[in-house]
């Protein structure tokens, strides 16, 4: 019961976040200089659809969905716009360009101070649920308390690709490699090899029994092989990035993709589609091509040791994990492969652990009890 409530709060919290951004997007779109009567009408319809979709989107039984507002919104928007402007390519182009212009601004806005708003919304939504309506006031009270508690961070450590731009002193910045290693170690203490495929880069990391990195390899600033590779392909196909995996998984015979560059792969995709090859087969080939690049980084960092943990946004993509599993088994034998639903936070988790360690001067010990609980929560 207790977990159920938390789960629902989380669902509604995400909904709140999503709605706020949708509102901003809507407002932005209507303010766009290119808006005409026709587009206004279309936009109204599109947004009505988007808000409606959002209602159920975060519920636990709904599966494939991106964690990124942009992905969700853009796939929804595209689909609706395509439907509405079936034969009117001018209208379609106009709608898309309005969207492109606006999303950029919505995305680069900061929503950091909205915790209370989100929480209140989440609380009100949740108590509407029949399972909790009886405890409405107790829940409200508890949440009001939770919201009022001030966080007192004892230490902060920044990491990630953009870490150099953080306004932190040097000792509060840690390489994302180390953070990923430690984060993965915390989630799965048996981990020896970590693969992180993020949006902008891919890292293969070897760690020791304490979660300390012993070797690593990462790719350069090239989208081929990172999450954006799939994002770009999804854009090419007017789809959300989270929709690719499920389609690719239907493939029975994958196509070999020859282009390494993401943009060229996009062109190859179009070419192959026009040659009549199946969408799912090409997509499967694209996923495999991306995982092959990761395999080569892994090989270079020292191979794959038990246990192997796959983190980063792409770990949510079933076709990518599928291709990875196959290739790992073929080349390194059976290995325990850990994939966490929260994997996109691995780096942040590692940074937090370093922050704690730096402050308290202790090496991090994994709290097994807590971990079990966490795993159970994830399983539920």
């Amino acid at each position: 019961m207790e977990e159920d409530l938390l789960a629902w709060l989380l669902v509604n919290y995400k909904l709140a976040q999503h709605r706020v951004q949708l509102e901003a997007l809507k407002e932005g779109c209507f303010k766009d200089p290119a808006v005409t009567e026709a587009t206004k009408e279309a936009l109204e319809k599109i947004f009505a659809e988007l808000f409606k979709e959002a209602e159920t989107m975060f519920q636990p039984n709904v599966k494939s969905r991106s964690d990124f507002f942009r992905d969700i919104a853009s796939s929804g928007f595209m689909t609706s716009a395509e439907k509405l402007a079936k034969n009117d390519s001018v209208l379609f182009d106009r709608l898309i360009s309005i969207f492109d212009r606006t999303i950029l601004r919505v995305e680069s806005k900061s929503y950091a101070t909205m915790f209370e708003t989100y929480m209140t919304f989440a609380c009100e939504q949740t108590v509407k649920h029949p399972a909790f309506s009886a405890f409405g006031d107790r829940i409200r009270k508890a949440i009001a308390y939770a919201v009022s508690v001030e966080f007192q961070p004892i230490n902060t450590i920044g990491t990630g690709y953009g870490r150099a731009r953080l306004p932190f002193p040097k000792n509060q910045i840690r390489s994302e490699i180390l953070c990923h290693g430690l984060g993965a170690h915390y989630m799965f203490p048996g981990t020896r090899t970590v693969l992180d495929i993020g949006g902008q880069d891919t890292k293969a990391i070897q760690i020791d029994e304490n979660g300390i990195v012993t070797n690593f390899q990462m790719n350069d600033r090239c989208a081929a092989g990172c999450g954006r590779y799939l994002g770009y392909i999804a854009d090419e196909m007017n789809m959300g990035v989270h929709e690719l995996g499920p389609i690719a998984m239907k493939s029975r015979k994958q196509v070999r993709i020859n282009s390494t560059c993401t943009v060229f792969a996009g062109a190859e995709l179009r070419e192959r589609l026009s040659l009549g090859e199946k969408r799912e087969d090409i997509l499967a080939g694209l996923h495999r091509a991306m995982i092959l690049r990761a395999m080569s980084l892994l090989a270079r960092s020292g191979g794959i040791d038990d246990e192997f943990t796959f983190t980063g946004g792409v770990a949510k993509n079933g076709a990518a994990t599928g291709a990875l599993r196959t290739l790992v088994e073929e080349n390194y034998g059976k290995k325990t492969i850990n994939i966490s639903a929260d994997s996109i936070y691995t780096g942040a988790l590692g940074a937090a652990l370093f922050a704690k360690r730096d402050q308290l001067g202790e090496t991090v010990n994994v709290d097994l009890k807590k971990l079990k609980k966490q795993k159970a929560a994830i399983a539920a």
Partner: protein, 386 residues
């Protein structure tokens, strides 16, 4: 067997990364096999020791590289990583020893890696002389060959007598003669002896007994004349630069498809490295050494101070009535790519058109090559020689 069927069989051999034909040979003869990397090794010595020399030319277009990348950075040519991949996949287990001839730093260093990776195998770096003086370079090379001969005797348990060695020399002489005939046939009728056919025939020689290979070539030549093959309005070109890592078969076919008949090339060059028969004498090692010093082809892994750079190529163009030269070299291949400016300079002095591009053995995209060779062919076709 029709020419088409012969080529199909050769293509199967080309695609067979398990070296089944080598295993079959071993079962049949009970002998051992020695793998060698490009470009040239004196196969006669291996043969005389009752062993099968097996040419290893990388993994080609079909091998997916998973672990090989762990050994080579992205800016090193492709052949060593696919060779290591083959090794790690145990596909080269059927060979008892490996020879790494001196050709470039990559192959040289690969020999050291092989020593570490496969300590149970016989691994030898064959240092070829760059001094072509019989008394100096010849002396050194002779030592190298003696050592090799001695090692192979030990490995095979067979004594190599001068008679045996001479017999092998004879067989390889014959093989080279037939290959030369095949090349001559292509020069005369490039539409008949397709370059892709010829290439596959040469590749087959990497993995089969020399006598069988000679018979195969003769069979093809007898059959192919019966074929009725269409003649296209193609230009005649010489392809140069691919002496080590081989272009994918599809690229070779693509060259023909984009309007070029190839009348000379340097792929599988080891099979044609010696340009004259090695004489049968009382001292076969000396004969082999002399052949290497005096009668081997001009290629970028050999140092040449006496001869004028590019003269060999220019002569070939004239002799074979070629319209131009296509440099097609593996990416990151220092010997081939450093040689290129010298050769192009020689061609330019003679106003011979040329173009160039780079490939990797597993390149999968050909449209850029097609554009380039096509434009090249167009320009020769539309405007003639000059």
């Amino acid at each position: 067997m029709t020419a088409k069927k012969i080529i199909e069989d050769c293509e199967d051999l080309y695609n067979d990364l398990d070296f089944t034909s080598v295993k079959t040979w071993k079962e049949k003869t009970g002998g051992k096999a020695i793998g060698y990397l490009p470009v040239y090794v004196p196969r006669e010595i291996i043969h005389a020791a009752g062993m099968l020399p097996v040419g290893i030319m990388g993994g080609g277009p079909n091998l997916e590289i998973i672990k090989g990348d762990a050994y080579f950075q992205s800016y090193i040519c492709h052949i060593p990583r696919s060779t290591i991949e083959l090794g790690l996949l145990n596909k080269l287990d059927c060979m008892e020893g490996f020879l790494f001839p001196a050709i470039c730093d990559v192959i040289r260093n690969l020999s050291g890696m092989w020593q570490i990776l496969f300590p149970e195998k016989y691994v030898r770096y064959l240092d070829l002389p760059q001094n072509f003086d019989k008394e100096i370079g010849g002396e050194f090379y002779r030592h190298e060959m003696e050592q090799l001969l001695h090692d192979l005797e030990e490995l095979s348990g067979n004594k190599v007598t001068p008679e045996k060695l001479n017999r092998s020399i004879g067989l390889y002489n014959k093989n080279r003669q037939v290959i030369d005939k095949l090349y001559a046939m292509r020069v005369a009728q490039p539409h008949l002896v397709l370059t892709s056919d010829l290439y596959l025939l040469l590749r087959a020689g990497n993995v089969m007994d020399v006598e069988d290979h000679t018979r195969l070539l003769e069979g093809y030549m007898a059959e192919v004349v019966k074929e009725d093959r269409k003649k296209f309005d193609n230009i005649r070109v010489i392809v140069s630069g691919a002496f080590c890592e081989q272009p994918p078969l599809a690229l070779i076919k693509g060259l023909e498809a984009s309007g070029c008949y190839i009348v000379e090339d340097d792929w599988v060059l080891g099979a044609r490295f010696l340009q004259k028969d090695v004489p049968i004498t009382a001292d076969p090692l000396e004969a082999l050494s002399d052949a290497y010093l005096n009668d081997s082809v001009s290629t970028s892994s050999k140092y040449e101070d006496e001869k004028e750079k590019g003269k060999y190529l220019v002569d070939q163009v004239k002799m074979l009535n070629a319209g131009g030269v296509i440099f097609c070299a593996p990416s990151f291949c220092d010997p081939a790519l450093l040689e290129r400016p010298m050769l192009t300079a020689a061609l330019e002095r003679e106003k011979i058109p040329h173009t160039s591009f780079k490939y990797a053995e597993n390149t999968g995209q050909f449209s850029m090559f097609r554009e380039q060779t096509g434009t090249f062919a167009d320009s020769i076709k539309l405007w003639g020689e000059a």
